[in-house]
Amino acid sequence: MSKDNIAFHRTHMLPEAPPPATETGAIKWLRENLFSSVANGLLTVVAGYLLLSLVISAGPWFLNGIWDSPSLTACREMLDGRTGACFAVLTERWNQLLFGFKYPDELYWRPTLAFVLLFVAIAPVLFVKFLPHQLLIFTGLYPFIAYWLIWGGSIIVPVMALLGVLFGVLVYRRTLTVSAGVAVLAGIVGAMVFWWIAGFVTGSAAGFLALEPVASRDMGGFMVNLMLGVVCVSLSLPFGIMLALGRQSDMPIIKWICVVFIEFIRGVPLITLLFVANVVLAYFLPPGTTFDLILRVIIMITMFASAYIAEVIRGGLAALPRGQYEAADSLGLDYAQSMQFIILPQALKISIPGIVNVAVGLFKDTTLVSVISMFDIVGMIRGPILASAEWNGVYWELFGFAALLFFITCYGISQYSQWLERQLQTDHR
């Protein structure tokens, strides 16, 4: 076409044509994702080879696995020289792995029931938009029910504990008109006084509607990990929020208490805190007080996790534009209202990945209690199971099982948090 002749008009329209075969379906996917360049193609082949050899070598180990045998020696005999796993240790020691070796056999139904009810209790919190709010009442009651089921004893104890909480809330409501700070303090003091008085009642009514009591030192297995994980995560979230807000406070004393607490706890390894809980704390308590070991560990892990969550939430608070605080202020919302309705919902949403990170880490860190001679799942495996004559030497199966339990839980938490983030997304970017 010469430079002068730029005029053009179309005489017939082109029909729609299918894309070439290399641009559709599986071929396109393969080309784009696996063989997009020579280097990537090579990597794909190498990775494929590694995967294949892994399956070939580990496959028989799984497939030949023995599920029913009284001991490792018997298991080896049954395998007769072939490669294969001894999953029998899991079936034979199933109850020990889950409940520890001292929890009474006939009472296993109690922690199991508490575990099932846990899902009923957290569902209304996790799916707040989809379930009726009345179910949250059960969530509030659940800690007391679970305590009664797992530790047993008279029902009076958890009932009094619950009434103490309700009494504290009542005092808080009544004094709220004075000032929020006074109300919180009065509420806590009210609950304490109630519990102190209730202590005399529970002592005399120990046999009333009593389940057979089980001591904390008799608990073990994955149950301990779950208990510590659930309790510490649910406690450290509110404490973390309070610490984060406290650190931003205009009141210097509150601010410095929070800063010192957070910086101190973050600067100390968890294992040190656990040793403190185990040994040192006893020196500071009045002689003769028996302070439950699980309770001490819960306090320490909660403090540890709160400090981390506080910093995560502080990041969320810092990410909010100042305009949000100003808009809330300009509408006349007071501090508590603007935090509750405007600031925290947004800051927490931003903080979800960080909070989940801490929660997952915390849940896995509960295995550290095995170091202070508590028999959680790792403690059970390293102690009673591997030390027994029958199962000495079964490492892969046991630790693999423990890893699987933790993976399922943590992966579930992670998936839920991603779903929640999508639910809360309102900015339609």
């Binding site: 100003e326 808009a327 300009s330 006349g332 947004q346």
Partner: protein, 260 residues
């Protein structure tokens, strides 16, 4: 001409009742003296436009009126309440004073309707149903009732700013503060926000607007205040202010802003 008649009527509504009284007010940001000896009396029903170069302290001045900024010297009396450090006192003043921001500052996690009902429900203790009716009334007034269930992120800038105005109106404020309400908007959306503000002025709302929209100032204001270096340099009726400015600084400012 109907609009002008209405505006003239609104002029009549300016009463002797004092809405905001600022006397000898000074403010510092650190060592920087932002506001110097501000004296200003705003009467109920007045519409004041505050103009001036950036950094002249005009935004800070109106932010002091609802205590978003603290002043260090002098006094501010809003609707009979002297602004002090007492937080309850401040919250009361804020609930009577609506504020519209340059960047809208809507709450992105709440729907438009929830944005409008939150403060009436929790500050005014209005029942939810009633608060929603009020909100729909004002959303209709700013001409976006159909967006009530959307989130702020789904709306255009102009729509968001109109929601922000409706959100403030839902508190039934006695005074409205506007902090450069059109500065962050695309040119096409400015007029829809200004129209809403003009309507508000016609109804006799007491308004203090920081704005660079001089056309709006001419049409709506009954007083224009010019600020520079933290002080009020000149104030006058709009006609006089624009046609016959007294101070050299005002003349320079007007020539720059109206020059093209």
């Amino acid at each position: 001409m109907a609009a002008e008649a209405q505006m003239a009527e609104a002029q009549m509504k300016v009463s002797d009742e004092v809405a905001v009284e600022i006397s000898k007010m000074n403010k510092w940001f650190g060592a920087f003296h932002v506001l110097r000896d501000i004296d200003l009396t705003v009467y109920q029903g007045e519409r004041i436009v505050i103009a001036g170069p950036s950094g002249s302290g005009k935004s800070t001045l109106i932010r002091c009126i609802n205590a978003l900024e603290e002043h260090q010297k002098g006094s501010i009396t809003v609707d009979g309440t002297v602004l002090s450090n007492d937080i309850k006192n401040i919250d009361r003043v804020r609930s009577e004073v609506g504020m519209v921001f340059q960047h809208f500052n809507l709450f992105p996690h709440l729907t438009i309707l929830e944005n409008c009902t939150l403060a009436p429900i929790w500050v005014r203790k209005t029942p939810k149903r009633e608060a929603e009716e009020i909100a729909m009334h004002f959303l209709t007034k700013v001409k976006i009732p159909e967006q009530a269930d959307k989130y702020p992120g789904q709306l255009s800038g102009g729509q968001q700013q109109r929601v922000a105005i409706a959100r403030s109106l839902c508190m039934k404020p006695r005074i409205m503060l506007f902090d450069e309400p059109t500065s962050a908007l695309d040119p096409e959306m400015i007029s829809e926000v200004l129209d809403t503000m003009i309507e508000l002025a016609e109804e006799g709302m007491t308004m203090l607007c920081v704005t660079h929209e001089m056309g709006f100032a001419r049409k709506v204001a009954n007083r224009v205040i010019f600020m520079d270096q933290g002080q009020i340099v000149e104030q006058n009726e709009p006609e006089e202010f624009f046609n016959n400015p007294k101070s050299e600084r005002t003349k320079l400012f007007l020539s720059q802003i109206l020059g093209h």
